[in-house]
Protein backbone atom coordinates (compact mmCIF):
# COMPACT_ATOMS: atom_id res chain seq x y z
CA UNK A 1 0.00 0.00 0.00
CA UNK A 2 1.24 3.49 -0.83
CA UNK A 3 2.35 5.44 2.24
CA UNK A 4 3.85 8.81 3.16
CA UNK A 5 7.25 7.78 1.81
CA UNK A 6 5.84 8.41 -1.68
CA UNK A 7 5.40 12.14 -1.01
CA UNK A 8 7.98 14.09 -2.96
CA UNK A 9 8.58 11.29 -5.49
CA UNK A 10 9.23 12.71 -8.94
CA UNK A 11 8.70 10.91 -12.22
CA UNK A 12 10.29 11.10 -15.65
CA UNK A 13 9.52 14.46 -17.28
CA UNK A 14 7.35 14.16 -20.39
CA UNK A 15 7.95 16.24 -23.52
CA UNK A 16 4.92 16.59 -25.79
CA UNK A 17 4.33 18.52 -28.98
CA UNK A 18 0.89 19.96 -29.72
CA UNK A 19 0.28 18.35 -33.12
CA UNK A 20 -2.66 19.54 -35.27
CA UNK A 21 -3.72 16.06 -36.46
CA UNK A 22 -3.86 14.57 -32.98
CA UNK A 23 -5.72 17.63 -31.70
CA UNK A 24 -8.27 17.35 -34.53
CA UNK A 25 -8.93 13.70 -33.56
CA UNK A 26 -9.63 14.86 -30.00
CA UNK A 27 -11.97 17.65 -31.18
CA UNK A 28 -13.81 15.24 -33.51
CA UNK A 29 -14.19 12.67 -30.74
CA UNK A 30 -15.88 15.26 -28.52
CA UNK A 31 -17.99 16.82 -31.26
CA UNK A 32 -16.19 20.08 -30.50
CA UNK A 33 -17.00 22.58 -33.25
CA UNK A 34 -16.02 25.87 -31.59
CA UNK A 35 -14.15 27.69 -34.42
CA UNK A 36 -11.50 29.05 -32.04
CA UNK A 37 -10.06 25.50 -31.82
CA UNK A 38 -10.39 24.71 -35.53
CA UNK A 39 -9.84 27.88 -37.54
CA UNK A 40 -6.51 29.68 -37.41
CA UNK A 41 -8.00 33.04 -38.41
CA UNK A 42 -10.60 32.87 -35.66
CA UNK A 43 -7.86 31.98 -33.17
CA UNK A 44 -5.65 34.87 -34.30
CA UNK A 45 -8.57 37.28 -34.10
CA UNK A 46 -9.00 36.10 -30.49
CA UNK A 47 -5.37 36.98 -29.79
CA UNK A 48 -3.69 33.57 -30.12
CA UNK A 49 -0.48 32.80 -32.08
CA UNK A 50 -2.21 29.68 -33.48
CA UNK A 51 -5.24 27.55 -32.58
CA UNK A 52 -5.34 26.89 -28.81
CA UNK A 53 -5.99 23.59 -27.04
CA UNK A 54 -9.22 22.92 -25.10
CA UNK A 55 -9.08 23.18 -21.29
CA UNK A 56 -8.47 19.49 -20.48
CA UNK A 57 -6.12 18.65 -23.35
CA UNK A 58 -2.96 19.17 -21.29
CA UNK A 59 -3.86 16.03 -19.36
CA UNK A 60 -4.01 14.08 -22.64
CA UNK A 61 -0.71 15.40 -24.01
CA UNK A 62 1.11 14.19 -20.92
CA UNK A 63 -0.39 10.71 -21.27
CA UNK A 64 0.10 10.46 -25.04
CA UNK A 65 3.78 11.24 -25.00
CA UNK A 66 4.83 9.55 -21.76
CA UNK A 67 7.70 7.20 -22.53
CA UNK A 68 6.59 5.02 -19.61
CA UNK A 69 2.76 4.75 -19.67
CA UNK A 70 1.15 5.08 -16.20
CA UNK A 71 4.65 5.43 -14.73
CA UNK A 72 3.52 6.74 -11.36
CA UNK A 73 1.25 3.72 -10.90
CA UNK A 74 3.93 1.17 -11.71
CA UNK A 75 6.56 3.11 -9.75
CA UNK A 76 4.32 3.05 -6.67
CA UNK A 77 3.24 -0.55 -7.30
CA UNK A 78 -0.43 0.34 -7.85
CA UNK A 79 -2.67 -1.96 -9.90
CA UNK A 80 -4.28 0.00 -12.75
CA UNK A 81 -7.53 -1.95 -12.21
CA UNK A 82 -7.83 -0.50 -8.68
CA UNK A 83 -7.55 3.15 -9.64
CA UNK A 84 -10.31 5.72 -10.04
CA UNK A 85 -9.97 9.40 -10.84
CA UNK A 86 -10.99 11.42 -7.77
CA UNK A 87 -10.35 15.05 -8.64
CA UNK A 88 -8.71 17.09 -11.36
CA UNK A 89 -7.57 20.70 -11.44
CA UNK A 90 -5.91 22.96 -14.00
CA UNK A 91 -4.43 26.42 -13.36
CA UNK A 92 -3.67 28.33 -16.56
CA UNK A 93 -0.97 31.01 -16.74
CA UNK A 94 -0.30 31.38 -20.49
CA UNK A 95 -1.84 30.09 -23.74
CA UNK A 96 -0.93 26.71 -25.23
CA UNK A 97 -1.31 26.49 -29.01
CA UNK A 98 -0.64 24.14 -31.92
CA UNK A 99 3.09 23.88 -32.54
CA UNK A 100 4.10 24.33 -28.90
CA UNK A 101 6.42 21.82 -27.25
CA UNK A 102 5.59 21.29 -23.60
CA UNK A 103 7.47 19.72 -20.72
CA UNK A 104 5.52 18.09 -17.88
CA UNK A 105 7.20 17.47 -14.51
CA UNK A 106 5.03 15.30 -12.24
CA UNK A 107 5.56 14.70 -8.52
CA UNK A 108 3.57 13.27 -5.63
CA UNK A 109 2.46 15.99 -3.20
CA UNK A 110 0.20 14.09 -0.80
CA UNK A 111 -0.93 10.63 0.25
CA UNK A 112 -4.03 10.28 2.43
CA UNK A 113 -5.73 7.16 3.74
CA UNK A 114 -9.53 7.14 3.80
CA UNK A 115 -12.19 4.87 5.25
CA UNK A 116 -9.81 3.06 7.58
CA UNK A 117 -7.39 2.19 4.82
CA UNK A 118 -10.00 0.97 2.33
CA UNK A 119 -8.92 3.78 0.00
CA UNK A 120 -5.78 5.81 -0.53
CA UNK A 121 -5.90 9.27 -2.15
CA UNK A 122 -2.76 10.26 -4.00
CA UNK A 123 -2.23 13.77 -5.35
CA UNK A 124 0.17 14.21 -8.26
CA UNK A 125 1.02 17.80 -9.22
CA UNK A 126 2.58 18.58 -12.58
CA UNK A 127 4.15 21.85 -13.66
CA UNK A 128 4.01 22.54 -17.40
CA UNK A 129 6.45 24.76 -19.29
CA UNK A 130 6.68 25.52 -23.00
CA UNK A 131 9.58 25.70 -25.47
CA UNK A 132 10.43 29.23 -24.29
CA UNK A 133 10.59 28.20 -20.65
CA UNK A 134 7.26 29.91 -19.89
CA UNK A 135 5.34 28.28 -17.04
CA UNK A 136 2.03 27.79 -18.86
CA UNK A 137 0.01 25.69 -16.41
CA UNK A 138 -0.14 23.56 -13.30
CA UNK A 139 -2.08 20.33 -13.27
CA UNK A 140 -3.24 18.53 -10.15
CA UNK A 141 -4.66 15.02 -10.28
CA UNK A 142 -6.09 13.08 -7.35
CA UNK A 143 -6.30 9.34 -7.84
CA UNK A 144 -8.28 7.03 -5.62
CA UNK A 145 -6.80 3.59 -5.03
CA UNK A 146 -9.30 0.96 -3.92
CA UNK A 147 -7.10 -1.08 -1.60
CA UNK A 148 -7.56 -4.86 -1.37
CA UNK A 149 -9.08 -6.00 1.91
CA UNK A 150 -6.48 -7.43 4.27
CA UNK A 151 -6.71 -11.23 4.29
Amino acid sequence: MVDQSAVGREFTPVTARVEPGRLRFFLDTLGEDNPVYRDENTARAAGYRATPVPPTYLFCLEMMDATVPFEFLTALDIDLARVLHGEQRFDYFAPVVVGDTLTFRPRVTSVTEKKGGAMTLIVVETGVTNQDGVHVADISRTVVVRNPRPS
Binding site: V36, P54, C60, M63, L80, H85, Y92
Partner: protein, 135 residues
Protein backbone atom coordinates in the same frame (compact mmCIF):
# COMPACT_ATOMS: atom_id res chain seq x y z
CA UNK B 1 -19.03 36.38 -22.92
CA UNK B 2 -21.02 39.57 -23.16
CA UNK B 3 -19.53 42.86 -22.05
CA UNK B 4 -22.09 43.14 -19.28
CA UNK B 5 -20.89 41.86 -15.96
CA UNK B 6 -22.79 38.71 -14.98
CA UNK B 7 -24.62 38.65 -11.68
CA UNK B 8 -24.31 36.12 -8.90
CA UNK B 9 -26.74 33.26 -9.43
CA UNK B 10 -26.90 33.75 -13.18
CA UNK B 11 -26.61 30.57 -15.24
CA UNK B 12 -24.15 31.25 -18.06
CA UNK B 13 -23.13 27.67 -19.02
CA UNK B 14 -25.59 25.10 -20.35
CA UNK B 15 -25.01 22.32 -22.86
CA UNK B 16 -26.38 18.83 -23.44
CA UNK B 17 -24.42 15.98 -24.98
CA UNK B 18 -25.40 12.79 -26.84
CA UNK B 19 -25.52 9.49 -24.89
CA UNK B 20 -22.14 7.90 -24.06
CA UNK B 21 -21.54 4.91 -26.35
CA UNK B 22 -18.87 2.20 -26.42
CA UNK B 23 -17.74 3.67 -29.70
CA UNK B 24 -17.21 7.10 -28.08
CA UNK B 25 -15.15 5.50 -25.30
CA UNK B 26 -12.97 3.71 -27.86
CA UNK B 27 -12.41 6.93 -29.79
CA UNK B 28 -11.61 8.82 -26.58
CA UNK B 29 -9.15 6.11 -25.55
CA UNK B 30 -7.17 6.78 -28.72
CA UNK B 31 -7.68 10.53 -28.90
CA UNK B 32 -6.74 11.19 -25.27
CA UNK B 33 -3.84 8.79 -24.86
CA UNK B 34 -5.60 7.25 -21.84
CA UNK B 35 -5.32 3.57 -22.73
CA UNK B 36 -6.59 2.22 -19.42
CA UNK B 37 -8.47 -0.92 -20.60
CA UNK B 38 -11.13 -0.51 -17.89
CA UNK B 39 -12.97 1.94 -20.20
CA UNK B 40 -12.99 -0.18 -23.35
CA UNK B 41 -12.33 -3.83 -22.51
CA UNK B 42 -15.38 -5.51 -20.93
CA UNK B 43 -13.35 -8.53 -19.78
CA UNK B 44 -10.89 -6.29 -17.95
CA UNK B 45 -13.67 -4.20 -16.37
CA UNK B 46 -15.50 -7.32 -15.08
CA UNK B 47 -12.30 -8.74 -13.66
CA UNK B 48 -11.78 -5.43 -11.82
CA UNK B 49 -15.23 -5.85 -10.24
CA UNK B 50 -17.34 -3.58 -12.46
CA UNK B 51 -20.48 -4.75 -14.29
CA UNK B 52 -19.43 -3.08 -17.54
CA UNK B 53 -16.97 -0.57 -18.98
CA UNK B 54 -17.60 3.03 -17.95
CA UNK B 55 -16.61 6.49 -19.09
CA UNK B 56 -13.23 8.07 -18.56
CA UNK B 57 -13.72 10.83 -15.99
CA UNK B 58 -11.68 13.05 -18.27
CA UNK B 59 -14.09 12.51 -21.18
CA UNK B 60 -16.84 13.91 -18.96
CA UNK B 61 -14.58 16.77 -17.86
CA UNK B 62 -13.78 17.47 -21.52
CA UNK B 63 -17.53 17.85 -22.16
CA UNK B 64 -17.78 20.19 -19.18
CA UNK B 65 -14.84 22.17 -20.58
CA UNK B 66 -16.57 22.34 -23.95
CA UNK B 67 -19.74 23.69 -22.35
CA UNK B 68 -17.60 26.21 -20.46
CA UNK B 69 -15.70 27.51 -23.50
CA UNK B 70 -18.94 27.76 -25.50
CA UNK B 71 -19.82 30.49 -22.99
CA UNK B 72 -16.42 31.88 -22.02
CA UNK B 73 -13.43 32.40 -24.37
CA UNK B 74 -10.70 29.90 -23.40
CA UNK B 75 -8.19 32.73 -22.87
CA UNK B 76 -10.32 33.99 -19.96
CA UNK B 77 -10.22 30.78 -17.97
CA UNK B 78 -7.82 31.04 -15.05
CA UNK B 79 -8.56 27.71 -13.40
CA UNK B 80 -10.84 24.75 -13.97
CA UNK B 81 -11.32 21.94 -11.48
CA UNK B 82 -13.70 19.16 -10.66
CA UNK B 83 -14.43 16.31 -8.33
CA UNK B 84 -15.55 13.07 -9.97
CA UNK B 85 -18.59 12.41 -7.79
CA UNK B 86 -19.86 9.25 -9.47
CA UNK B 87 -18.97 6.88 -12.28
CA UNK B 88 -20.54 7.83 -15.63
CA UNK B 89 -22.17 4.75 -17.14
CA UNK B 90 -22.74 3.78 -20.77
CA UNK B 91 -25.83 5.47 -22.16
CA UNK B 92 -25.52 8.46 -19.85
CA UNK B 93 -26.97 11.59 -21.42
CA UNK B 94 -25.01 14.43 -19.84
CA UNK B 95 -26.03 18.00 -19.16
CA UNK B 96 -23.35 20.49 -18.15
CA UNK B 97 -24.25 23.70 -16.34
CA UNK B 98 -22.46 26.60 -14.73
CA UNK B 99 -23.70 29.45 -12.59
CA UNK B 100 -21.93 32.51 -11.21
CA UNK B 101 -21.13 31.86 -7.55
CA UNK B 102 -19.03 34.89 -6.72
CA UNK B 103 -17.52 38.03 -8.23
CA UNK B 104 -13.98 38.79 -7.15
CA UNK B 105 -10.83 40.68 -8.01
CA UNK B 106 -7.26 39.37 -8.22
CA UNK B 107 -4.31 41.74 -8.80
CA UNK B 108 -6.67 44.25 -10.35
CA UNK B 109 -8.35 41.72 -12.65
CA UNK B 110 -12.11 41.37 -12.29
CA UNK B 111 -13.02 37.72 -12.07
CA UNK B 112 -15.96 35.42 -11.46
CA UNK B 113 -16.03 32.04 -9.80
CA UNK B 114 -18.44 29.65 -11.49
CA UNK B 115 -19.98 26.58 -9.94
CA UNK B 116 -20.09 23.79 -12.53
CA UNK B 117 -22.02 20.53 -12.60
CA UNK B 118 -22.45 17.62 -14.94
CA UNK B 119 -25.57 15.52 -14.39
CA UNK B 120 -26.92 12.47 -16.18
CA UNK B 121 -30.50 12.06 -17.44
CA UNK B 122 -31.75 11.05 -13.98
CA UNK B 123 -30.22 14.15 -12.40
CA UNK B 124 -27.37 12.35 -10.65
CA UNK B 125 -24.32 14.59 -10.26
CA UNK B 126 -21.30 13.08 -12.00
CA UNK B 127 -18.96 16.06 -11.80
CA UNK B 128 -19.01 18.88 -9.27
CA UNK B 129 -16.53 21.53 -10.20
CA UNK B 130 -15.69 25.17 -10.53
CA UNK B 131 -13.88 27.59 -12.77
CA UNK B 132 -12.43 31.02 -12.19
CA UNK B 133 -12.75 33.27 -15.22
CA UNK B 134 -11.57 36.78 -16.04
CA UNK B 135 -14.41 39.14 -16.88
Amino acid sequence: MSAAQPSVGERIVHKEFPPITRHRLALYCGASGDHNPIHVDLDFAKKAGFPDVFSHGMLVMAYLGQALTDAVPPSRIRSFSTRFAAITQLGAKLTCEGTVAELLEHNGEKRARLTLTTKDQSGEIKLAGEAVIAL
